[in-house]
């Protein structure tokens, strides 16, 4: 079951196509990565999902229903460019934004109090936003995004500008929300974060989908039969290594690419047969970053 399904979504602007026939599904309760370089069309896609704009053609389903203007109350969206009313007090501002998401005043107030308590910032309630530091404002922004308990949370570069402590704090909260059943879309161009948190990803470039799937599956699909072996005896003379491509060789380790038709055991057998003391043997999977770069590079050609 998908919380969000996009079917052949197209969005044209005056002189370019921002979203070109994109389809994907976000499984309910998952953390989903929306990846792409700057200008790939991530923001255009998000704006369609958040009802800010409408697709020129194609279908967007939220929890099985075609997207409509009642849905914003079920979506929490934190744009990349954060923004709050600078002159408004923290409490008032949060109450205002929560009520605009359809929360009744009393409930909003109570929920907000417990969030501010949780972050230990209840004393900020009567402070103006402009008195807070950037990191503090990000926390407020995060609370504003999640207080109405959305089914779907869309976070655009959520960790940009956060120090490591606050990054972890927000990461933990996202984990917590996810465990409680919230589906999360993560939009970013920072790949190392994707591997840490996302189960599924879609990679778009120039408005087109170029890759989609489960993160570990994608890595397996893109593996290049690379293995790293560490052993004790240095400067071993090993016969028969000509059958392997040695990409990197150091005193006590080698990185090997297996040719087609060869299995890891063949390599191990050869090494052991030559009397090597194996310390470790690992397959090197490509990072999402490598896949990203190679795919984006390819799609440019």
């Amino acid at each position: 079951m998908s919380i969000l399904s996009l079917r052949n979504v197209v969005k044209n602007y005056h002189n370019h196509t921002a979203v070109d026939n994109v389809s994907f599904d976000v499984p309910k309760g998952s953390v989903f990565g929306l990846l792409g370089p700057n200008g790939a069309g991530k923001t255009s896609l998000i704006r369609i999902i958040t009802t800010i704009t409408m697709a020129d053609s194609g279908q967007v389903l939220l929890d099985g229903e075609p997207i409509n203007f009642n849905h914003p109350s079920q979506i929490g969206y934190m744009p990349e460019e954060r923004g709050l009313y600078k002159k408004m007090k923290v409490g008032e501002q949060l109450l205002y934004l929560a009520q605009l998401k359809g929360m009744p005043y009393k409930e909003a107030k109570q929920k907000l109090h417990s969030w501010l308590d949780k972050f230990d910032i209840i004393s900020w309630w009567d402070k103006r936003v402009e008195e807070l530091s950037k990191g503090m404002q990000q926390k407020i922004q995060f609370i504003a995004t999640v207080v109405h308990e959305p089914k779907l949370l869309i976070l655009d570069e959520p960790f940009s500008g956060l120090d490591p402590i606050n990054t972890n704090l927000i990461k933990d909260e996202i984990d917590q929300l996810n465990q409680n059943g919230t589906s999360i879309i993560f939009s970013t161009h920072r790949m190392e974060q994707v591997e840490e948190v996302c189960e599924n990803i879609i990679l778009i470039n120039n408005g087109r989908k170029i890759l989609e799937g489960n993160v570990s599956q994608i890595k397996i699909d893109h593996k290049e039969n690379l293995f790293k072996v560490e052993f004790d005896n240095s400067l071993l003379r090993i016969n028969g290594l000509a059958n392997f491509q040695i990409l990197e060789s150091q005193n006590d380790s080698i990185t090997v690419k297996l040719n087609d038709g060869m299995r890891p055991n063949d390599l191990l057998g050869l090494l052991i047969g030559n009397g090597a003391e194996i310390n470790s043997f690992n397959e090197i999977l490509p990072s999402i970053n490598d896949i990203f770069i190679s795919r984006v590079g390819k799609s440019k050609e």
Binding site: H14, R47, T50, T51, I52, T53, M54, D56, F69, P72, S73, I75, Y77, M78, P79, E81, R82, G83, L84, Y85, K86, K87, M88, Y96, L97, Q99, L100, K101, Q141, A144
Partner: protein, 440 residues
């Protein structure tokens, strides 16, 4: 609907609670009152200071009692002019006049030299000239065979009385009601002009602020852009009503206090009120308060008040939604957006400069056509209202205005929804025109 109300509430409360708003709201009428008080005080002061004038009249044709007033104290001297022209200021006189004898009674011109250390105002000179010619006329009458009584009987004063309004009491009521009507026209036209600029640009600044702050993207993921714009326009509209209402009450209070403490001459009170005030002042100095009240009563308030309210809101809405659209199209650089504001400034400035020609002929074709055009009518129709325009014209103008308000708000909404998400691009009118037809 509920969201719209939340937006209106926020827009209203954040402004009304600001210290600067409270200060401006309270201090503006006080400042206004202070200006009125000071200018009134200065005016009365300059009137109270009597000028001492010595007149050299060796032929004895003048009489001191005919000349002296509260402003000028005349003394007649028979000394030759060369004995007094250097010493008159030491003797305590401000002005020396040298009246030569009248040799030819049939001559209608008479040259009088004056000597003065300080510059005299044109008004004072004219007053003295009038005094002199009246006194000399009296002398000529006494020298001729005509007696004063016959002459008085020759006087004929004509009063133009509007037959349609003949049910009014008093001879001066018609002239007075025209004066009051003109003053009211100016007041309403100018008020609209101020409202459009002050509160319209308040809407524009607020739109720009949301765009620059980037809060707007969060907002429109919760509400429709049109709701946000409408809420802002309406919220600021309520701010306008609040502020104007408080100003009205305070100004009225100040006028009452002022009226009680100052001399009853109403011309003093109007010192700071500009053209409208001058008209009132002129009226005031010529007649008494009773006539003023008659003039006020003679206006068709049942038409004026409700129509003005309609034009007030229509004008505010049409222009502030335009301001909102322009604000959304602007980047963070106000200077760059200057040209985008021209389509707003130009009609307002044309309209306000048409107020005077329209007042000269409140039912002429310029007035009629001008008050139908929806970008002018919020200023020009209120200016016509005190002059009893035909009801069908008022109604037609209102219908056109309301239709235009709906259309312009729609246009502004189309521009706004695209503009608020445009960053880092200098936009042209052509580009904005295209936004109208962009799909959501």
């Amino acid at each position: 609907m509920n969201k719209l109300w939340l937006i209106i509430q926020r827009e209203y409360l954040t402004r009304v609670r600001k210290k600067s708003f409270i200060l401006v709201t309270l201090l503006t009428p006080l400042g206004f009152g202070l200006i009125m008080f000071v200018s009134g005080y200065l005016a009365s002061n300059s009137m109270n200071s009597q000028k001492k004038i010595v007149v050299v009249d060796q032929s004895g044709i003048l009489n001191e009692d005919d000349l002296s007033t509260s402003q000028f104290d005349f003394d007649i001297s028979t000394l030759p002019i060369n004995e007094i022209d250097t010493t008159y200021s030491k003797l305590g006189y401000d002005l020396l006049l040298d009246v030569p004898p009248i040799i030819d009674l049939s001559s209608t011109e008479h040259k009088v030299d004056f000597y003065s250390k300080e510059k005299l105002s044109l008004v004072a000179l004219e007053q003295i000239e009038r005094k002199m010619s009246r006194a000399l006329k009296k002398y000529k009458i006494s020298k001729s065979n005509i007696n004063q009584e016959t002459l008085d009987q020759l006087e004929m004063e004509v009063t133009l009385d509007n037959a349609v309004k003949s049910d009014q009491e008093g001879d001066k009521s018609n002239k007075m009601s025209i004066g009051v009507a003109s003053a009211l026209s100016y007041l309403m036209g100018f008020l609209m002009y101020m409202v459009i600029f002050i509160y319209g640009s308040m809407v524009m600044r607020s739109v720009m602020e949301e765009k620059i702050n980037r809060i707007v993207e969060v907002m429109i993921s919760s509400v429709r852009p049109f709701q946000l714009m409408l809420g802002k326009v309406m919220g600021v509209g309520f701010v306008a009503i609040t502020q104007l209402f408080i100003w009205m009450i305070l100004l009225f209070g100040i006028m009452l206090v002022f009226g009680a403490t100052m001399t009853p001459d109403p011309s003093l009170g109007a010192g700071g009120m500009g053209e409208a005030g001058e008209i009132l002042a002129e009226m005031g100095s010529q007649s008494d308060m009773k006539d003023l009240l008659v003039g006020i009563k003679s206006l068709n308030w049942l038409l004026i008040i409700p129509s003005f309210i309609v034009f007030f809101f229509g004008g505010y809405f049409i222009y502030s939604s335009l301001f909102a659209a322009v604000g959304s199209a602007m980047g963070d650089d106000l200077g760059e957006g200057q040209q985008l504001m021209m389509p707003i400034f130009i009609p307002v400035i044309i309209a306000i400069s048409l107020v005077f020609p329209v007042l000269n002929n409140p039912n002429g074709s310029l007035a009629v056509y001008g008050s139908m055009f929806p970008l002018f009518s919020p200023i020009l129709m209120p200016a016509r209202l005190p002059f009893d325009p035909p009801l069908w014209q008022v109604l037609l103008s209102i219908v056109i205005l309301i239709a235009s308000v709906i259309f312009m708000t729609w246009v502004a909404g189309r521009i706004y929804r695209v503009g608020i998400l445009m960053y880092g691009k200098k936009v042209s009118f052509k580009e904005i025109g295209r936004w109208l037809f962009v799909k959501n």
